[in-house]
């Protein structure tokens, strides 16, 4: 009894990729876009409040700003910069595909370009911000 189609049955697909949604790299960029987006907005809620303290004058604001001189917070800050950058680059990819539908053919290349651009820009950023974190840990200003 010959099957009429050449594609593998559903069970095979699940076996090869595990319980993943369609097993395509696009699902990871989709998931990362959501995770980075949620992380950014949750930080933003707090960040608007801490910046608003500036309205209460130098003593209050400088006390709040000193939180950012903690090395652990600075590590989170590096993560925030990474999240904003990834979300932005991947957002550009989404817009390219949505507004120029023929680019859907090159979705894989666009995904790779997004990751390459992200990693390439994070290298100097990590060096710059990392150097200042190390300085803080050594007890410098």
């Amino acid at each position: 009894m010959a099957t009429t189609e050449g594609r593998a049955p559903e069970g095979d697909r699940k076996g090869r990729f595990g319980p993943l949604y369609k097993g395509h790299e696009g699902q990871y960029s989709w998931l990362l876009h959501r995770i980075t987006g949620v992380a950014i907005i949750l930080f933003l809620f707090a960040h608007v409040v801490d910046t608003a303290v500036v309205g209460w004058g130098p003593n209050a604001y400088n006390r709040v700003a000193s939180v950012y001189h903690n090395p652990f917070i600075r590590l989170l800050e590096l993560g925030l910069v990474a999240a904003v950058l990834y979300h932005s680059l991947n957002g550009v990819k989404i817009m390219l595909i949505d507004f120029f539908p023929t680019l859907t053919r090159h979705i894989r290349a666009l995904g790779i370009a997004t990751v390459v651009l992200f990693v390439a820009s994070m290298i100097p950023i990590t060096l710059l911000m990392g150097a200042r974190i190390l300085e803080l840990l050594r007890g410098g200003a």
């Binding site: 369609k22 097993g23 395509h24 696009g26 699902q27 960029s29 989709w30 876009h33 959501r34 987006g37 949620v38 950014i40 907005i41 933003l44 809620f45 608007v48 409040v49 910046t51 608003a52 500036v54 309205g55 004058g57 130098p58 604001y61 400088n62 700003a65 950012y68 001189h69 600075r74 800050e77 925030l80 910069v81 904003v84 950058l85 932005s88 991947n90 957002g91 550009v92 989404i94 817009m95 595909i97 949505d98 507004f99 539908p101 023929t102 859907t104 053919r105 979705i107 950023i125 710059l128 911000m129 200042r132 200003a141």
Partner: protein
């Protein structure tokens, strides 16, 4: 109904829809407007938020130099006041709508949906009001010698 913000490319193109025809846009007035808003605000935030992050957190000693005197100098300029205010409004609207889309995907009971999205909407609106008041009323000359 589904207002996904990311592509789901692995599905074979539906019959009668050639590859390259793109994915469907949301149907319905409200979802189409929020879909468009996410893209337009995203494009503007690409400049405002990425610029902000690079200037305030990465370049030139980053957050090390941020204190009251720094803000005094920065918000003495109408350009930076406008930049920060536009970013405040667009980022909060973009983020709260993003949360709404995610809540609609993962939360089923309509009461919980309304409660969670209502909470984020009220929080976002309150922060837009708070931030606007602070940016507009901040007077750099009100605290002389604050450095």
């Amino acid at each position: 109904m589904s207002a996904t913000t990311e592509v789901r490319p692995a599905a074979p193109p539906p019959a009668g829809k050639p590859v390259g025809a793109g994915r469907d846009r949301p149907s319905g007035r409200w979802e189409l407007w929020t879909w468009l808003f996410m893209r337009v605000s995203g494009l503007v935030l690409l400049v405002l938020a990425v610029g902000h992050v690079l200037i305030m957190h990465v370049l030139d000693d980053g957050v090390d130099r941020v204190n009251f005197a720094f803000i005094q100098l920065r918000w003495g300029s109408l350009l930076w006041k406008s930049w920060d205010w536009a970013m405040l409004v667009l980022a909060l609207l973009h983020g709260v709508n993003g949360l709404r889309v995610i809540v609609l995907d993962y939360v089923r009971p309509s009461g919980a949906r309304i409660a969670i999205n209502g909470f984020f909407t009220v929080l976002g609106a309150a922060l837009i009001v708070l931030g606007t008041i602070i940016v507009v009323t901040f007077d750099p000359s009100a605290w002389p010698g604050a450095a």
